[in-house]
Symmetry: C2
Subunit: 252 residues, 2 copies
DNA sequence: ATCATAGTCGTCTTCCTGACGATAAACACG
DNA sequence: CGTGTTTATCGTCAGGAAGACGACTATGAT
């Protein structure tokens, strides 16, 4: 049976990416400067159209690779490579969200270790890592004193949803290790939690918790002093994905 | 700047609904029989096209009302009416998921109290509440002995995702009350947990937990014996939405 | 040598949970 | 009318986990 194109309205479908990382003790997101109208010159989340023969997560993985060079982890494989965690976040389809046409955007959330430098199609000046508070604040000024314009489209809402997802998900999963390099110390992992949650955690209780949770961390045998102080044991992420009981976020 | 229609492929966008309820101690989902090809005669999740001027949650609320007569709760208002909980679940966009054309489906999850009877556009024979295990089992036979065909499209996957979302979400939120009538007893709420999780819970510990969590339940002052036995206190859902500490699901 | 920095091990108290005994208030039935 | 059944509700106890925090260790910096 041939389909009837008049039976449904046509939509454009895009994927937008909330790419988070932890740099210098703060949670940062990848932003790209828009080169075209609307919102020309404003910062936005990276993203693009889904192609005709592409699945949604394929499109998200392709955009992630184009913007950062990162490969996405296949969640089904126990990959310990330098890939990023990638998952679907939510879909945004307000009829007014793009003034040009009806666009439905399937937002994805990516968590990556600290990277050397962003690249936006080879043009580094049009991409940057910015602290999420800076991207989300309404008006005001960034750390360099220049006034901050809100993100384009509804990207502030999408970013806020992605940050909230990351904050809650590291409570009950081992996802915080996605922010770390392949080998990391307990202290580095703790600083990830502190940056994402914006709180200070007791190093002793944190150490007891993460080393006492079976399958969370596996020691590699090596040590490092890259953080200064006494040498720390190096770990890799263990196979466990769900933390039970969860890591408790200090009360708001 | 006018937009260039050749710059992106056109998609159809639909909403599909996972509507869950608890009937006779088991978790049930709403299924409708397809009247058209493809999958004609097979059971599927209710859903339909998003209209040109409609937001996604508006479309989901409209479909929910058409299929069940339920109004969706506005999550921002503390409504205690007979509405259902409605939230976005996930989006499914495999290029092959609909043989006719490229369709992206934004699935939503609805939780409803036990309803008198479903209606599918007024035709009750084409809609039913079925236990989720029955809808999800591959092959085999239903309780009435008739062979069970898998759900149409990728709806089994969508239903499984919705069930898993509901199972995990009642752990750390007060969402289980969405399965209950406006006034309910602790025992009725416990039977909701037991049906959704498929486990037996200790009535005494459950009672201690839910009545001891501030803001979860507020007593109405009334009592009922509709379950038999000693009269039980009636409660309404309190304002609290997040349970901290969570309700612990017995180990798998 | 001394200090600062970070990591690691223990202790103690408090809270929460799971297991389970006991009592209370309704109904069904002989 | 007693007796059993069902459901609700309160209480007790032991074990585990978490927060607070003391103590010690192993590096580099001055």
């Amino acid at each position: 049976m041939p389909y009837d194109p008049s039976a449904f309205p046509p939509f454009a479908v895009t994927v937008d990416l909330v790419v988070l990382t932890v740099r210098r003790h703060s949670l940062c997101a990848l932003a790209v400067r828009r080169g075209e109208s609307p919102f020309k010159g404003r910062w936005a989340l990276p993203g693009g159209f889904v192609r005709a023969d592409e699945d949604l997560n394929q499109a998200a993985a392709r955009e992630l690779a184009e913007e950062t060079g990162l490969r996405a982890h296949d969640p089904s494989s126990p990959a310990q490579d330098n890939g990023a965690h990638l998952e679907q976040l939510a879909t945004y389809g307000d009829p007014e969200r793009d003034p040009r046409m009806r666009v439905v955007s399937v937002a994805h959330l990516a968590l990556a270790p600290d990277l050397p430098a962003p690249r936006a199609g080879g043009d580094a000046s049009n991409a940057r890592w910015a602290p999420v508070e800076e991207l989300l604040q309404q008006g005001g000024h960034g750390r360099d004193g220049e006034p901050v314009a809100p993100l384009a489209f509804d990207h502030a809402r999408i970013l806020a949803d992605g940050v909230e997802r990351a904050r809650s998900k590291i409570e009950y999963s081992s996802l915080a290790t996605a922010f770390c390099p392949p080998e990391f110390t307990v202290g580095e992992l703790r600083r990830v939690y502190e940056a994402v949650w914006g709180v200070a955690l007791d190093p002793r209780n944190f150490h007891r918790k993460v080393t006492g949770t079976p399958g969370f961390l596996v020691p590699t045998g090596g040590t490092t002093t890259r953080q200064g102080g006494r040498p720390a044991q190096l770990f890799r992420a263990g196979g466990a994905t769900l933390l039970n009981p969860p890591m408790l976020r200090p009360e708001v």
